[in-house]
Point group: C2
Chain length 182, copies 2
Amino acid sequence: MLATAREVLAERGFAGFSVDEVARRAGAGKPTIYRWWPSRADLLLEVYLTERSARVSEPETGSLSGDLAALARATLAAWRGTPAGAALRGLIAEAQRGDAALLALWGRFLPAWLQPVRSVLGDAVRRGEVDPADIELVVELYSGFLWRRLLTGQTDDDRTAIDRMARLIASGRGRKEPRAPA
Amino acid sequence: MLATAREVLAERGFAGFSVDEVARRAGAGKPTIYRWWPSRADLLLEVYLTERSARVSEPETGSLSGDLAALARATLAAWRGTPAGAALRGLIAEAQRGDAALLALWGRFLPAWLQPVRSVLGDAVRRGEVDPADIELVVELYSGFLWRRLLTGQTDDDRTAIDRMARLIASGRGRKEPRAPA
DNA sequence: AGATAACGAAACGATCCGTTTCGGTCGGTG
DNA sequence: CACCGACCGAAACGGATCGTTTCGTTATCT
């Protein structure tokens, strides 16, 4: 079932992803699909989560900028090479309808999605590389960078741009008084 | 006509924005709407452009971080207080369908949208505040920050976050070798 | 005044979501 | 071995929306 959804997303992208299409290909009835997933968005979400958790693992390069770059590259690779990218594009697009159920789903999904970045940032804080007060800023800039690339279809592995992004974000100059180097 | 579209967007957001609804309220026929705008997205786009060009003007604070912060706050204010925010949310959502015409529209719109940031960055380059090679990075981080906020509904005037974002982005530490101050 | 173009209203074809209905197939039971 | 009930695929339905077509009316221009 999920396999069929993945297949449709991979072949025709979010544009060609409809519940009817998935049901047809799976040789299943729509009621059966709606038995397990309350809405199309839930189906997209599950496709994304399974796909992504299987692919992206926590990097350990020793520096925040290295970790951020590795994480970003792995995420983009997963978006590029699996239906995860199409699924997330669909989720973001659908969330703009403002449906209450969608927003609830979103509220549960966003923190889960941000978990790897927060983990990497936690390490950096422990190393004294980042002021805890800067965490939210870094999370926002990092996710904004990746989402914008996803939504505009730029999921290619642009190493130099990603490295620059990671270095700038990790440089931590957002505070009024930069900390003296340890 | 545009006034009615603005009104619908303002009252019911992108969720309640349909061509039929606009036609009904305007006392006009749908064919008349489609005579001027080839698709719903074009209508959204024009609402956005008129709304935004009337509101956001180029800041001149003398520093890149100041300009970026002012620009970001003005943009968020326009999104918050006018139908422009709802219109852009709709445009971004609709673009995810991958329709060819949509992508063409997007290709013309994105550069126009980025023009104010690029202008501010041009000033900073002339002042020697920014390496021209960093322009794309700053543009990406700035737009990613704002879009992410728009798409998640966080259009409030979060001064401290915006200032931090502007300072970090403007600090220009993304290069391998930071330029020596002039 | 008469012809022509534009326009509002309504209906249409197509697509899609999410729900309901129907008929057949499989399990377990007396 | 015969029967009953739950599940499921298929199909149809109701509702919404986009973009198009048709039609009668109105307003404009000659």
